[in-house]
Structure formats: structure tokens, C-alpha cells
């Protein structure tokens, strides 16, 4: 690290920061793009189909269809970049970034491995070091920002279908965020702090002390709300072919569309990272008291990938909700459940547990 810092003419802290940012965000973006392939192949497996397996590098190397990513990327890159005549041009251009950046930013707070000490300096494996004062409030706030990407994309397209999709999506996100917040508050109480490292430390290395076991109701609410938050099935109200064409991205094409799609998958990655951190012990390795750094990173990545797969799995299992059912569930089921969870754990803590 010191060598790199002297190469870049910066302090080791800055160099470490740069390395972290590059590794974390490129990994998330790579995973997000790979997940488009996982989604398609996984759905094919679930539905007894085969899925994209034809795309090949140089027309020869098929690698089980992974080249489809490249083919899709190239195709999107070379498509004509249409902007509708009546669209609000500035916002139309801005919207994909508004969707993409918050989806990635939420990941910054997540510790993806235990801190390592090298040469008397502690290096934290998260982009934002613990004790920054924002803690888990940060991804929640950034998650709130994600509404703007969808809504701005919808509104700037100047299209009825788009605006309907955008309105529905933003209403969904806003109403489910309350459930998320209340579920997370119960965790903050139990963890005695809202910094992710506090939350992870409070969970320990045994699976039965993880918050998924200690607060199953909260987990259920949080998990369900995350689907609404990431705008994925069964709550994908931003789009819907049978109702509102393609919803908020009806007017989008080429790289802008691809960025919106990537934003969805990055959001998925961030959401699974949040689930893993809050309820499944983050980088804690089950039954290993002091895991090595590599082991803890591997544990975290495995958890992350598993929950990302669960998002895909659920999408191809459950039918969509109707919009009124969604609102019913958000306000009349999720909110009371998370409140009950909060009150129950507050009561338990008052009893000295």
C-alpha cells in the first residue's frame, strides 16, 4: 500500500481509499452485469428451458452463454440513441445516472470483510470506514434517492405509460420504505448502535445469534420490502407489459436503457448486501470465531450471491401483485408487522434481555 501511495504521490490512506472504491464498485458493476445472465439462464432452468447459450466469443467459444453479456453490451452500445422530441432532454439524459449512482452508492457502507491490521495501520474493508457517523442510515437514505431515478426517467419521457409506471414505482418505494426503516430500527436497538460494524459484531459468529433468528418477523418484513425497494417482481410496478407497455423505460433505448437495467441489478446487489449484513452476520463465518480476512470476504460474497440468487428465484416463482394488493400489503400488513416487531423487541429489551 505504501508503494502504491508513493507511486500515486498520495498518502497511504488516500491510495487505500482509491483501491477500495475501484475494487468495490467495479466488482458490483461486474456482478450486476453477470446477474443479467444469471437471471436469464436461471429463469430458463426454472422453467425447463435452456436460455441464452448461443453467443460465442469469435463464433467458437461458447462458455455456457456468458458471451451474451458482451453481445448485449455491444448491441446496446451501437444502437441509435433516440431521445423523444417532446421529452425533457436534460432530465431524460440525467435519469439513468440518477438511477444508477444511488444503486451503487448504497454499497459504500457495507463491510465486505473484517478489518485487517498491517504495519500498525488498520485497514477497513468497506469504502466508508466504520465510525463515520452515518452508519446504516446512509444506505436507507440513498435507497430513498433511488426513487428519483425511476420517477425522473418516467416524467422526462413525456409518455403516459412511463409516468404511470413511475408514479406507481415511487408510491411503492415510499410506502415500503417505512416498513424497512421500522424493521431496521429494531436491529439498531438490539445491536446497540447503527454502524454496520456494530451490527455485525452484535450478531457474532454463531448462526443462531444472527438477527434472522433473533428477529424473524423483522427479517420477513425487511426481506419483502427489499423486493419492493428494488422494484423487482413480485412488486415490479415500474413496468408491466400488459398494463403500461414497458413502464418507466418505455422511451429508453441503447446505452441509457442498459444503464437503467444495470441500475436495477446493482440495486439488487446492494439490497442483498444489506440483507446479508443486517440479518445474516455480514462477513461473519459460521462457527469460526476469528476468521482470516480472505475467509471473511469469501463468506460475505457467498451470502451476497445467495441473496442475489434468491431475488432471481423469487422473481420466477411468484406472480405479480395487483397494485391495490401491493398498497394493501405495504400499509396494512408490512407496517403493522414491523411496528409489532419493534414494540416486541423494545419490550424484551426493557425486560433486560
Amino acid at each position: 500500500m505504501d508503494k502504491l501511495a508513493s507511486l500515486l504521490h498520495t498518502s497511504p490512506a488516500t491510495a487505500w481509499m482509491v483501491v477500495k472504491v475501484i475494487i468495490v464498485f467495479s466488482a458490483v458493476m461486474l456482478l450486476a452485469s453477470v446477474w443479467t445472465w444469471v437471471e436469464r439462464r436461471g429463469s430458463a432452468m426454472i422453467q425447463d428451458r435452456i436460455g441464452p447459450n448461443r453467443a460465442a466469443l469469435f463464433g467458437k467459444i461458447r462458455i455456457i452463454g456468458l458471451a451474451q453479456l458482451l453481445a448485449d453490451g455491444i448491441k446496446f452500445f451501437f444502437k441509435e440513441d433516440l431521445v423523444p422530441a417532446e421529452a425533457n432532454k436534460g432530465l431524460f439524459w440525467l435519469a439513468p445516472f440518477l438511477a444508477f449512482v444511488p444503486a451503487l452508492m448504497g454499497f459504500a457502507i457495507i463491510p465486505f470483510g473484517r478489518s485487517l491490521v498491517s504495519g500498525g495501520v488498520t485497514y477497513h474493508l468497506s469504502v466508508l470506514d466504520p465510525g463515520n457517523g452515518m452508519g446504516m442510515l446512509y444506505p436507507l437514505a440513498i435507497g430513498g434517492m433511488a426513487v428519483y431515478g425511476v420517477l425522473v426517467a418516467a416524467w422526462s419521457s413525456n409518455n403516459k405509460w412511463s409516468i404511470l409506471g413511475g408514479m406507481r414505482a415511487s408510491a411503492t418505494m415510499v410506502s415500503y420504505e417505512i416498513g424497512i426503516s421500522l424493521a431496521v430500527i429494531a436491529i439498531f436497538m438490539s445491536a446497540n448502535g447503527y454502524d454496520p460494524s456494530d451490527v455485525i459484531k452484535a450478531q457474532g459468529h454463531t448462526p443462531w445469534t444472527w438477527f434472522v433468528v433473533r428477529q424473524p418477523l423483522g427479517f420477513l418484513v425487511f426481506f419483502t420490502c427489499m423486493f419492493a425497494e428494488t422494484n423487482r417482481l413480485p412488486f415490479d410496478f415500474a413496468e408491466g407489459e400488459s398494463e403500461i407497455v414497458a413502464g418507466f423505460n418505455t422511451e429508453y433505448g441503447s446505452m441509457k436503457f442498459s444503464l437503467l437495467a444495470l441500475a436495477e441489478y446493482s440495486h439488487l446487489m446492494t439490497a442483498s448486501a444489506l440483507i446479508a449484513t443486517l440479518y445474516f452476520g455480514g462477513w461473519q463465518v459460521p462457527f469460526v470465531k476469528d476468521p482470516t480476512v480472505m475467509l471473511s470476504v469469501a463468506s460475505f460474497v457467498l451470502k451476497l450471491l445467495f441473496f442475489a440468487w434468491v431475488f432471481v428465484w423469487v422473481r420466477w416463482t411468484l406472480p405479480r401483485f395487483r397494485y391495490d394488493q401491493l398498497m394493501h400489503m405495504g400499509w396494512k400488513v408490512m407496517l403493522p408487522l414491523s411496528m409489532a416487531n419493534l414494540v416486541f423487541h423494545a419490550w424484551r429489551m426493557s425486560q433486560g434481555h
Binding site: M45, D48, I50, T317, L318
Partner: protein
């Protein structure tokens, strides 16, 4: 008359929605695992250019004009198939030929030209049904494609050789006996 709608009574377990969701996810996961460990040839999907379905008997694909062992065409140019064809894709020009003998089944008439417009043909098999001599068959070749329209006009010699390779027969491109040049009959 009213229809009695059967209402499904949900148990409290079903009402929670969580348990049915888990059941559904178990089903999809079962499918996923089963497909993950099934090799591609054993899946339901037929990977077309590499794998092909077995064509059932009685399939109506590309036509063949049948021939006798000596290479003489079975067709007697009776125009029945042309009449029967709902797509009007068959056009025949008949001719007479001189040397009658027993191997040719006492024919004295045969098509000088026999063409099928494959762009129009609907592979209905009516020509096969109509043929009194069993001279035209619809068989199993279904990959009919060409880069230009002219290639889809199948002539007499094309049709006689459509399955030569598949059956291991010789390609022929002329009748064993010459025709009488004076008389050609066209409908």
C-alpha cells in the same frame, strides 16, 4: 343455468402467504436443480441445428417423384395432382415416348416438365392422395430454404433426385428412353 363456482377455502397457514410462497419456491428450485444436472440433449428443448427431432411417419415434407428401378419416372402425366393442388403450385407438361416395354408399366406418356413452386406449395399432400400411380410422395425433408426465389422452383430432375442421397440411389438427369419430339401435351 348457473354455474357453481368452487371456492377454495384457505387454511390459516395459506392465509399467512409465507408457507405457500415457500412451497412454490421449493417447486421452482426443484426444477432448477433438475435442469442444472440434466445435460442439454436430455432437456425438453431440441437444440435445432445440432439436434433434430425424429420426423414421424406420414410427415409431409419435400416431394419426391418416384422412379422405377431402371430410372424411368413413374409419373404418367395424368395431371391429377395438378388438378388436386389447392395452391396451384404444380405445373406439368406431358410428352409421349416411343419405346413401350413391360418394365415401364405400359406407359406411353410421361412429364416432359414437372415443376413445383415451393414458394406456393403448402405441403398438404393432396397431390400424393390424387396420384393414381403412387408417383409423387411427400417425405421427411422439411428444410426448404434458398437465397433466391428461382431456387425454390423445383423442376422434374430436382424432384426426382430430392431423396437420392438419403436413399442411396443414383442421381439421374435424363430419361432412359428418348421422347417423340412431335407431340407435347399441355393442359
Amino acid at each position: 343455468m348457473g354455474v357453481i363456482v368452487k371456492k377454495v377455502e384457505l387454511t390459516w397457514l395459506d392465509r399467512t402467504y409465507v408457507w405457500p410462497v415457500l412451497q412454490g419456491m421449493a417447486i421452482t428450485f426443484g426444477h432448477f436443480i433438475r435442469n442444472l444436472f440434466t445435460t442439454t440433449p436430455n432437456r425438453y428443448t431440441v437444440q435445432y441445428p445440432e439436434m433434430k427431432r425424429e420426423i414421424p411417419d406420414g410427415y409431409r415434407g419435400l416431394h419426391e417423384l418416384k422412379r422405377f428401378e431402371g430410372g424411368e419416372i413413374k409419373c404418367v402425366a395424368c395431371f391429377m395432382c395438378q388438378e388436386a393442388c389447392p395452391a396451384r403450385c404444380i405445373s406439368i407438361e406431358a410428352e409421349e415416348f416411343s419405346d413401350l416395354n413391360i418394365t415401364q408399366g405400359f406407359q406411353e406418356k410421361r412429364p416432359a416438365k414437372f415443376s413445383i413452386d415451393m414458394l406456393r406449395c403448402i405441403c398438404c399432400g393432396m397431390c400424393e392422395e390424387a396420384c393414381p400411380k403412387d408417383a409423387i410422395w411427400l417425405r421427411k425433408d422439411y428444410e426448404l430454404a434458398a437465397y433466391d426465389r428461382l431456387s425454390m422452383q423445383y423442376g422434374k430432375w430436382d424432384l426426382m433426385n430430392t431423396y437420392s442421397d438419403a436413399d442411396g440411389k443414383a442421381h439421374i438427369n435424363q430419361d432412359p428412353t428418348p421422347s417423340v419430339p412431335r407431340r407435347t401435351i399441355a393442359l
